[in-house]
């Protein structure tokens, strides 16, 4: 009873306490928001009694009162320069969820070329291509946070790649938190037409260490033979709440590669749903959660093999120190008729603190009979033979443990195809391991 009242109050304050986004000239867009508001009001904030949230108690979020985000960013280039990636010629910056054109660097739109733009503006000019996809992949009907995001849907990135287009530069989507108690609801949509190619980097950073909420939803649609590399770095502040969702749909022979790294936030949850919707689709999902203190990082992934000859590769790792808690739930669904599916999943976890905890749950649901599915999960401490090897070369116990911890994480970070980002994160891991 108590929970219901609190949850209702919470959603009410979240939905009503915040300024509503300005109305769009597009009736269907406004209708989507209105439907989402209705849905969000009907849904409850999940508790640990919900199976999907068994290990993740988000009740601390309910204690946070939100401040309206002041429109327009007071930040200048000097404040955010350190977050730039030198490889990324294209950059969209959002401050507390609000698009900051002065901090962004966009390509000029040339004729029928690719589009990289702020969603709320670009949706008007590109309504015909956006409408079939927006909110169709990350459905809000059963997910309260997606519903809230959709209710507030305004700024975010629209990436549209026409048939055969290839964007060479990584597209850096930089989400900066600057105000305490702000709630941001960035919304991104990536539409990759047949044979197109791009790399999208979602990067969540902060300039302050007090509580705030990031409730981000991304949809990625790949047409036949399209290729998308997706890097997602969550380095929110240590008191932040991060609720992330990404829904990916793959057409024939398309390829999606994801590297998702969770370093920040007091409580974070990332849902990554990948639908292999046509024959011969291929996805690679790599993940790393590196947490300490009292952090909680929860990753839920679903790879849905709906059609034959699909390939999926997944490697998820958690490094958990102090009293932190990591959760991994990796569902692999192979539907009837999805013959010749080739899937492998591994979940490897390193517990550093005596009170650190990990809950890992590989979940295979296979309804086809001619498939190859391998999976495995390990939870352990550092291998004493490895520690001894390094000590026998003169490294102290601490240095040896740090190096091995670093190596464990670096294996995932190495898969990020952007050198400067990779090096920066490797340094972060090194600093992290040397601190503990």
């Amino acid at each position: 009873m108590g929970t219901v009242t609190v949850a209702g109050g919470y959603l009410e304050s979240l939905l009503q306490g915040q300024p509503r986004p300005p109305s769009s000239p597009l009736a269907w867009f406004n209708q989507l928001r209105a439907d989402a508001v209705e849905r969000a009001s009907a849904l409850k904030v999940p508790t640990t009694r919900d199976e999907e949230w068994r290990f993740t108690d988000i009740s601390p979020l309910l204690g946070l009162s939100f401040q309206p985000v002041s429109a327009g960013s007071a930040l200048d280039a000097a404040d955010v320069g350190r977050f730039h990636l030198k490889e990324a010629a294209i950059r969209l910056v959002f401050v507390d969820g609000v698009y900051a054109p002065a901090l962004s660097r966009r390509p000029e739109k040339v004729g029928t070329g690719p589009v990289v733009a702020n969603l709320s503006e670009a949706v008007v000019a590109h309504a015909t291509m956006v409408k079939p996809h927006l909110a169709r992949h990350a459905r809000f009907q059963d997910d309260v946070f997606t519903a809230v995001n959709t209710a507030f849907m305004h700024d975010g990135a629209l990436v549209f790649l026409p048939r055969g287009a290839a964007i060479r530069s990584p597209i850096h989507l930089l989400f900066i938190a600057s105000q305490k108690a702000a709630a941001s609801h960035p919304r991104c949509l990536v539409i990759a037409e047949a044979g197109s190619e791009a790399m999208v980097i979602e990067d969540y950073v902060t300039l302050q260490q007090e509580a705030y909420v990031n409730n981000a939803v991304t949809e990625i649609v790949l047409a036949d033979h399209a290729r998308i590399d997706h890097v997602r770095i969550q380095r929110d502040g240590i008191e932040a709440f991060h609720l992330g969702r990404c829904a990916v749909s793959l057409a024939r022979e398309s390829r999606y590669r994801s590297v998702a790294i969770a370093l920040g936030a007091r409580i974070s949850r990332y849902n990554l749903d990948t639908l292999l919707a046509a024959e011969g689709a291929e996805c690679t999902l790599d993940g790393l959660a590196l947490i300490t203190g009292r952090q909680l990082a929860d990753t839920h992934t679903c790879i849905d093999h709906a059609m034959p000859h699909g390939t999926s590769r997944q490697s998820h790792k958690c490094i958990v120190d102090d009293t932190a808690h990591a959760v991994f739930n990796g569902k692999i669904m192979v539907r009837t008729g999805a013959q010749h599916t080739d899937s492998s999943q591994s979940s490897r976890n390193l517990l550093l603190g005596a009170r650190a905890r990990v809950d890992t749950k590989p979940q295979l649901e296979i309804f086809a009979d001619d498939v190859k599915c391998a999976h495995g999960a390990t939870v352990g401490q550092l291998d004493s033979e490895e520690v001894f090897y390094l000590k026998s070369r003169g490294l102290t116990e601490t240095a040896a443990r740090n190096l091995l911890t670093y190596a464990f994480g670096a294996e995932i970070i190495d898969r990020i195809p952007v050198a400067s980002l990779k090096h920066r994160l490797e340094r972060t891991v090194l600093d992290h391991t040397q601190r503990s």
Binding site: K391, S392, L395, Y406, A407
Partner: protein, 262 residues
């Protein structure tokens, strides 16, 4: 090379050790002087690899008796990393793979740790690169091995070369080579043993732990010790290894049984 006036590097007396409460070493006596090469031979399970690991300080082994004096100090008091810094080196029988750490990074870390110990300035990556490439030539190693993960996907021979490369970098006073010949083909054996011979000098000492005589065709020992059931049961010159090769380890056991009148 044997020189009677040479300083003692290692003095092992009545060394006993257990693993999981099972006694593996049952009283080892061994004296190693500078400039000497000792081969320790024996069947599997005789305790020869255990002796190597106990000297390096492996925590799985508990020393239950005896003493080990290294360069005048009590070796058993030291942590493994302190032994390494004092000049004890163990070339592993099964070197550990560490994916995610570049071999060059690992080698530099080990080398700089040693330099810091000696009060010397650490080498930066570029300085180290020149230094290590030079050492790699000694072992005919491709510089590509610097960029790969530590021992990651290395063949047996490549791993052993990487071990001897570390020996070349760390210049130990006492190098213990645990079955360094296992898993090597003829060419790799030649390269690895040549490397060891170049590193052997009048100031250091080497203990070769091996099951087979073949390595001793390349590295000529001053002494050959035969271990059985946790003890050194026979010590001789290099000819003992050849005799073992033709007559087998049973011969030593038989001889002992005869001497004991059993």
């Amino acid at each position: 090379m044997i020189r009677a006036d040479s300083d003692i590097v290692l003095e092992v007396h009545g060394l006993r050790a257990t693993v999981n409460d099972i006694e593996i070493l049952k009283g080892i006596d061994l004296t190693v002087r500078r400039g000497e090469i000792h081969a320790i031979m024996g069947t599997n399970g005789s305790g020869k690899s255990t002796l190597a690991k106990v000297l390096a300080g492996h925590e799985a082994y508990r020393v239950t008796g005896g003493s080990v004096v290294f360069e005048g100090g009590n070796l058993l008091d030291l942590e493994p990393e302190a032994r390494a810094r004092a000049g004890v080196f163990l070339a592993f029988q099964y070197p550990i793979e560490i994916p995610g750490v570049a071999n060059s990074h690992f080698l530099r870390l080990a080398y700089n740790t040693l330099r810091a110990q000696r009060g010397e300035e650490e080498l930066d990556p570029l300085e180290f690169e020149d230094f290590v490439r030079d050492k790699m030539k000694l072992l005919e190693m491709n510089p590509d091995f610097l960029d790969r993960g530590v021992n990651e996907g290395f063949s047996g021979g490549e791993k052993k070369r990487n071990e001897i490369l570390q020996m070349a970098l760390l210049e130990p006073r006492l190098a213990i080579l645990d079955e360094t010949d296992s898993g090597l083909d003829i060419d790799a054996l030649r390269i690895v043993t040549q490397g060891v011979n170049r590193l052997a000098n009048r100031d250091n000492a080497i203990i070769l732990v091996t099951h087979y005589q073949r390595m001793l065709n390349h590295i000529v020992p001053d002494y050959v010790h035969v271990m059985e059931s946790g003890r050194i049961v026979k010590t001789g010159e290099k000819s003992l290894a050849l005799e073992l090769e033709t007559r087998g380890y049973d011969w030593v056991s038989g001889e002992r049984r005869a001497a004991a009148g059993v």
